[in-house]
């Protein structure tokens, strides 16, 4: 217990950084992922190709490799100097965007073709169809898995600990420097993540139960 109480400000600061890193990357990856999903369902084959290639490459690349690229390799290209924190945000957003894209796309695909056909037959415009028929249904099947994807993003922020970005994963280093008990410290970090993730999992399950549509 003393490991936690003596370093309370360290723990709070680190978890605050984790949440900040998570929030920024979440927003960016949601925006980018939705754009990618739009590319992947677009009627233009080139756009679909770009979307598919991006998703295939990123889904099969380890996140750590993306981090290594942006922290160690990218600076050699002399394009734009970025801080480790920015590199972490960019890596996490680019990586998570691929999964957001897949979740959104699979959500759109769960809406039966008949729904869109019927709305067109009724004379709804494209925006009306999208806004009041397809998206409300798609959203129901998108939100629960999207919550899981965001949980994964929250946990992934710890990968940044290998790259000089302050967040909950670094608490270990700081405790080790002070000569505190690392074992206990890591258990507290793990507990912190359980506390952060559990409510999200609960929310996800509630959504899933309430919104599950029989098809």
């Amino acid at each position: 217990m003393s490991v936690l109480t003596n370093n309370l400000d360290l723990f709070l600061r680190a978890f605050g950084q984790t949440l900040q890193l998570f929030a920024v990357s979440a927003v960016l990856s949601l925006v980018l992922g939705t754009l990618l999903a739009a590319l992947r369902v677009s009627p233009v084959p080139v756009f679909r190709g770009v979307g598919t290639t991006y998703v295939t490459v990123v889904r099969n690349t380890p996140l750590t490799l993306v981090f290594v690229f942006f922290v160690f390799a990218y600076p050699l290209l002399d394009i734009l100097k970025i801080e480790p924190y920015t590199a972490a945000v960019v890596s996490l957003s680019l990586y998570t965007a691929a999964f957001v894209c897949e979740v959104v796309r699979s959500g759109i695909n769960t809406v039966p073709v008949g729904q869109a056909e019927a709305s067109r037959a009724l004379g709804l415009t494209f925006t009306q169809m999208l806004g009041s028929v397809v998206l409300p249904q798609a959203l129901r099947s998108v939100v629960p898995p999207m919550t899981s994807t965001m949980i994964a993003l929250l946990k992934n922020t710890t990968v940044a600990s290998g790259f000089a970005v302050v967040q909950a994963g670094n608490i270990r280093e700081q405790l080790a420097d002070q000569g505190d008990n690392v074992l206990i410290g890591l258990l507290w970090v793990a507990l912190g993540f359980v506390i952060l993730v559990m409510p999200l999992t609960y929310v996800q399950q509630v959504f899933e139960k309430r919104w599950s549509v029989a098809r």
Partner: protein, 290 residues
């Protein structure tokens, strides 16, 4: 492709799509040209920066690094499958005192980031006098996290079988174990195999997290050779391209196996139509993990 959102295009729309295609190709080409220009301008592919390929010792160390990655993957996968099977069985148990602790353990290990688990086993345990090698720490963490996800996948797979299957088996007088081993498991496994393999792709990617606890795997090899400023002038870009290609290649091989099995399942009439796709969603979203 998804035709939900669009009608079959008419002549005007086709022209518009062609224009957009040209713009799209131009944008992609411009981006590629820019990247290649940066590579050339900053001399990423000079002879000195590619020289490392010629050294036998480096080639051997590359093979060794791939071997380490693969052995962590294989050992981790086997352990995770066993862990998953045991905990799925426990979570499906009729006895509350077995079900509840199993559920708690699975949920907790799914909530803790893999990195923290690896730190715990590699940096934490020595404090208590238990010294584990980086390989063991990686493998144990992979087992605990991916095993928990696999337990959920197995459980979702068995729960997604139509109720009539187990009801009919019970009506025939089978016991719970018999229902499970003769009726539910064979059908669930056949239907679930592609999903399980997709989860193994995640496990393969997760081995790269071993980089953070100095496990000598492919990525660490890459940063070592790529960071060598004395002999090769920091060939980080070419080395990372090679490393990325190896990772993507290995993962794609596994993904293709999953897709192939899935296609074969779709053709095969013996494969049962399941009630939901919860297990697939578990993989899709769990995939976002490192």
């Amino acid at each position: 492709m998804s035709m939900v959102l669009f009608d079959v295009p008419g002549p005007k729309a086709r022209v518009r799509h062609k224009i957009m295609a040209v713009v799209g190709i131009a944008a992609v080409a411009a981006a590629l040209v820019y990247v290649v220009m940066r590579f050339i301008v900053t001399d990423q592919f000079t002879a000195r920066r590619l020289d490392w390929i010629n050294y036998k010792q480096i080639q051997l160390s590359l093979v060794e690094a791939i071997g380490n990655t693969l052995s962590a993957f294989v050992v981790g996968a086997v352990l995770a499958l066993v862990f998953g099977a045991i905990f799925a069985a426990a979570r499906l148990s009729d006895h509350g005192w077995v079900r509840a602790p199993a559920a708690v353990i699975v949920e907790i290990f799914r909530a803790i980031p893999l990195v923290i688990m690896m730190f715990f086993f590699y940096y934490g345990l020595p404090v208590a006098g238990v010294k584990l090698s980086a390989f063991t720490a990686v493998v144990i963490s992979l087992m605990l996290y991916n095993g928990s996800v696999l337990a959920e996948i197995f459980r979702a797979g068995i729960n997604s079988l139509p109720k009539g299957q187990s009801e009919a088996a019970y009506a025939l007088g089978m016991r719970k174990t018999q229902v499970m081993t003769f009726v539910l498991l064979p059908q669930a496994l056949r239907a679930m195999l592609p999903t399980i393999i997709s989860q193994l792709v995640v496990l393969l990617k997760d081995t790269a997290l071993g980089f953070l606890i100095t496990f000598e795997e492919l990525l660490r090899w890459g940063t070592r050779i790529g960071g060598d400023a004395v002999n090769f002038g920091r060939p980080m870009i070419p080395v990372m391209i090679v490393v990325a290609l190896i990772y993507i290649g290995l993962c794609l091989l596994l993904s293709w196996l999953a897709t192939y099995l899935e296609k074969r399942n779709r053709r095969n009439k013996k494969v049962i139509k399941r009630d939901d796709n919860k297990a697939e969603m578990l993989v899709l979203t769990g995939d976002a993990q490192g």
